[in-house]
């Protein structure tokens, strides 16, 4: 551990004493768990899709340090710069999202990826944190009452994003984006009658989605009907938790992971359950809960509305993704195709979450209000 004097006012010294170190450590631990679990899941998943044992793990290990750097780098930003990065990133993500519709290869029935110079990029991952920041700015602008129609612009941003996501189609991400936006508008002081109305609208939306989009209907059906055909993964997943027990079967001793097609991504939590047991899973769960709740806790003292809204949005995205992933792995809700933040395999997801959490750390740093951070 480096020693930094409290009187050190250099950039790093300043950062060290102002950043939320506990959350930083929790994020570090999550990434360490992710590294450990991808080692367990990579051979099982890789073998099935014809990749050598640790191919997936190697790729993840290349991205992990970059992600760590992004977390730290982003947390150095001032709120003003967070806003700028968010808005520019949001616009860039929209452009990339549009490009996927024209240039993206179709994988498993959806065009979500862009291949850029040897890297494949999933713009929908990056649109989530950047949209949250941009929307927070708009809501804050509305409150300042200087004539900017922030609410309307925020709504338009959401509409455009969701439209682009649904064209891929990517219902899971649309849901996350909408939910985060919903939490933000709720925090921003949405009238209660609207809250009730929106909740109703969401329910209607679910019903409509069930009726209009066949693969959504299929997932919901198979969740409700135990004998439906497509419950293979979920059943294997539950088996994994069962077989793991409290203490797990031991690293590398898992067998159910071999029959889980998405062991490295959507179902990595099941691999953790089988090999490291429920206690390790509870620790992971605790880390997620700690990061989200501690972030919220720090925001309770926040005096800047933009900071409050942006950080809430980012933390909500982070927490919601974790909850949805774990809950669907445990068959508490239909499978959604959601990565477990910082743990699942996936470069874009990891980098985007690193950016988002880096920005959260930046926003929750202790600051002297100087009046220019809006």
């Amino acid at each position: 551990m480096m020693t930094v004097a409290r009187t050190d006012t250099s950039l790093l010294g300043n950062w060290w004493w102002t950043v939320d170190r506990w959350s930083l450590i929790a994020l570090g631990l999550l990434m360490a768990f992710g590294a450990l679990l991808i080692l367990a899941a990579s051979p099982a998943a890789g073998q099935r899709i014809g990749l050598s044992g640790f191919y997936l793990a190697e790729r993840q290990f290349i991205v992990l340090p970059v992600a760590a750097a992004i977390v730290v780098g982003a947390s150095l930003l001032t709120p003003r710069w967070v806003r700028r990065v968010g808005v520019v990133g949001f616009l860039a993500s929209l452009v990339l999202l549009t490009l996927t519709l024209f240039f993206g290869p179709e994988i498993k029935g959806a065009t979500r990826w862009l291949h850029l110079a040897g890297f494949s990029l999933q713009p929908s991952e990056f649109v989530k944190p950047t949209l949250a920041v941009a929307v927070a700015w708009m809501f804050a602008m509305q409150r300042q009452g200087n004539g900017v129609p922030g609410n309307a612009i925020a709504l338009a941003m959401l509409a455009v994003t969701v439209a682009l996501l649904l064209m891929q189609p990517d219902v899971g991400q649309s849901f996350i984006v909408t939910a985060v936006w919903g939490v933000q508008v709720f925090i921003a002081g949405l009238p209660m009658i609207w809250v009730v109305g929106i909740v109703a609208a969401v329910l209607v939306g679910v019903v409509l989605g069930y009726g209009a989009l066949p693969h959504v209907a299929e997932r919901i059906d198979s969740f409700l009907d135990p004998s439906a055909g497509d419950r293979y993964q979920v059943n294997r997943s539950l088996e994994a938790f069962n077989s793991g027990g409290l203490f797990g079967r031991g690293p590398g001793e898992g067998t159910v992971k071999a029959s889980l097609p998405d062991a490295h991504s959507d179902f990595i939590f099941a691999v953790a359950g089988e090999e490291f047991g429920a206690i390790a899973c509870l620790i992971i769960l605790g880390l997620f809960a700690f990061v989200v709740l501690r972030g919220f806790g720090r925001l309770l003292q926040e005096t800047n509305l933009f900071v409050l809204l942006a950080a809430t949005g980012l933390l909500t995205q982070f927490g919601l993704q974790a909850v949805i992933n774990m809950a669907s792995t445990l068959h508490l809700m239909p499978t959604k195709g959601m990565t477990l933040p910082f743990i699942s395999y996936g470069g874009s997801s990891l980098l985007a979450l690193a950016l988002g959490m880096g920005m959260v750390l930046a926003l929750t740093r202790r600051r002297v209000p100087r009046g220019d951070e809006q």
Partner: protein
């Protein structure tokens, strides 16, 4: 800066501006929201943030509880059938074959087979040397050449013993793998080899019932229950092989059949083979003499000629025929083995097995009646039996008058032992033709059998066959108390169109107990050689009749057939069948 330095409080601090949870702020709207005072908006935001936190706390708690529930209790659903490619495939199990008492005759056991991916084998010569040390029957050179091929799959050895598998596993050679297979195993070995048959390495039936019921066996798990009684099978095989040894015969066959249902209780063909290693068996030992071999049966056929004659009404039981002179027909001369003088009644002809007398009977009966009787007895067409190895009778073509004559004493027409046994069963069981089977037959599944002879004829035949054992050629078959009746047969074998003087088929077909027949027992010895104990004779009466005697006296107590306590064999002079006879000698002597 000062605030930054002084911050030392806990992470979860209550909002400074609302020490008491401000429900009002939560619900406050319009006044503050969307354009209201910034501080009011902040206060609302913080309050509502608490709501969001609460929701998250609940979600995390539910997940945690669910985790513990799954890990500690069996909350997982029933395991569904694994999909192909992810787990091992459910092995195909072939149904067992059992005898009528449930003793296993064929079953399926797991075994490991060794295969290799030669592309993964680094040093074929070294691996081949290691393998041939464990599997001595493998040629090291061949294995080495196989392992050097540019292929990704080769079999090395099917069916390893557990010890061999362990030793090979312990070598730790990459590229060698085991495949769990099913191996058909025959615990009774040679004893039931011809009936049960055998399969190839992929468990496909190649012979016997394994072939005849291949589809049924591979598609079911219910054991196939046979009519066979393993105990009787053992007795029959034992007695036949003793006889074979005693008379230095080249083969033997035997059948024990339920006289009413046609169920084959035992059926043997010697020499036999080990169905667990059918590849090393000679074709002679694999040949089923009882169902596939057809033989000229000789004098046992007189049962059918005599029954047909009596049944037709053309001949009465006490009619006399002159047997003094040999019969010359075409280029043949028909003689008796032991010539008699004068006239003999039907019982005497049968008892002494007179060829001349039987030919007279047959000529009086007529060709048509004889042929139709043989046809009804199933002796002119291939028998329908469950085994694929079923022989086709060889008939005289064209069927001339001379054929009628020779067929009457069992020459010129070849049938299988099982066919003969079934025919005899029909003759003595009251005249109904049973359908022979090797499968256990439920009592209520009995089909009404077709009538072949009248009950009266059948009764007469029982008496005549008993007479043969009492006073005729079959005396050696008389198992005490079991009222065995039967008929001997000795036929010279035909090789290349000429009958061999010293190569014969000696047989005896008997049934017991003759007052209420239960079983028909047939024994046949191929090319027996006489010895001093039999005064050089190797006829049916000397060779096959003792086999039937022993089989009956060993199997009858086992099957719960009570011996008749006082069987009085009337002496020849007082025998009711013979008293009616017109033959001078006996009656004069009797008086």
């Amino acid at each position: 800066m000062s605030e930054r330095l002084s911050y030392d409080g806990p992470a979860f601090q209550r909002p400074r501006s609302s020490r008491v949870l401000p429900v009002g702020a939560l619900l406050r709207w319009k006044a503050t929201a969307f354009g209201g005072q910034s501080s009011d908006a902040l206060e609302t935001g913080r309050t509502r943030l608490l709501v969001a936190s609460l929701v998250f706390v609940c979600a995390f708690a539910v997940i945690g509880v669910r985790l513990l529930d799954l890990a500690l209790f069996t909350g997982a659903p029933q395991r569904i059938a694994p999909q192909a490619g992810f787990a091992h495939v459910e092995p195909q199990v072939r149904a067992d074959i059992v005898d009528r008492n449930g003793v296993v005759l064929a079953t399926t056991l797991p075994r490991a087979s060794l295969h290799a991916n030669p592309r993964e084998i680094r040093n074929p010569k070294f691996v081949a040397a290691q393998l041939s040390a464990i599997l001595p029957d493998l040629s090291e050179g061949e294995v080495s050449a196989k392992l050097a091929m540019d292929r990704s799959f080769i079999w090395i050895k099917r069916g390893l013993s557990p010890r061999q598998q362990y030793q090979i596993n312990r070598l730790g050679v990459p590229g060698l793998s085991f495949r769990e297979e099913e191996r058909r195993t025959y615990p009774q070995g040679e004893l039931t080899a011809h009936i049960v048959g055998f399969t190839d390495v992929d468990n496909q039936g190649l012979a016997g019932l394994e072939q005849g019921f291949d589809e049924l066996l591979s598609g079911s798990k219910t054991p196939l229950r046979l009519s066979l009684d393993l105990r009787v099978q053992h007795i029959l095989t034992d007695e036949l092989s003793r006889s074979m040894e005693e008379f230095r015969a080249i083969g033997a066959a035997g059948v024990v059949m339920d006289a009413h249902t046609g169920e084959i209780v035992a059926m043997a063909s010697l020499p036999s083979f080990d169905p667990n290693q059918p590849g090393s068996a000679s074709s002679d030992s694999r040949f089923n003499r009882a169902t596939l071999g057809t033989y000229e049966m000789g004098s046992v056929f007189k049962i059918f000629s005599t029954a047909a004659a009596l049944d037709s009404g053309e001949v009465a039981l006490y009619d006399n025929f002159d047997v003094s002179d040999p019969i010359r027909a075409a280029r043949f001369t028909i003689r008796d083995y032991r010539p008699k003088e004068g006239k003999l009644s039907v019982p005497e002809i049968f008892m002494h097995s007179s060829n001349i007398g039987t030919v007279h009977l047959a000529m009086k009966t007529g060709t048509e009646i004889q042929r139709s009787a043989l046809a009804r007895l199933g002796l002119t067409t291939p028998m329908s039996l469950e085994l694929p190895e079923t022989g086709t009778p060889q008939l005289p073509t064209p069927w001339r008058e001379i054929s009628t004559m020779t067929v009457s004493y069992g020459h010129g027409l070849s049938v299988t032992p099982v066919q003969l046994t079934a025919g005899v069963a029909a003759t003595i069981n009251g005249g109904l033709m049973p359908k022979p089977t090797v499968l256990a037959r439920d009592d209520d599944a009995l089909v009404p059998n077709q009538r072949v002879f009248s009950e009266r004829t059948s009764r007469d035949m029982r008496r005549l066959m008993r007479l043969v054992v009492e006073h005729g050629t079959g005396g050696n078959a008389d198992a005490e108390g079991y009222l065995v009746g039967g008929k001997t047969g000795t036929a010279n074998k035909q090789v290349g169109g000429t009958y061999q003087r010293n190569a014969r088929i000696s047989s005896f077909v008997g049934a017991f107990p003759m007052d209420e027949p239960r079983y028909v027992v047939f024994a046949m010895v191929d090319e027996p050689k006489g010895h001093s104990g039999t005064f050089g004779y190797a006829t049916g009466g000397w060779v096959a009749a003792p086999v039937v005697h022993n089989v009956v006296s060993r199997m009858a107590p086992m099957l719960g057939i009570q011996p008749r306590p006082q069987t009085i064999t009337p002496p020849m002079e007082e025998h009711p069948l013979l008293l009616h006879a017109v033959g001078e000698d006996f009656r004069i002597a009797a008086q």
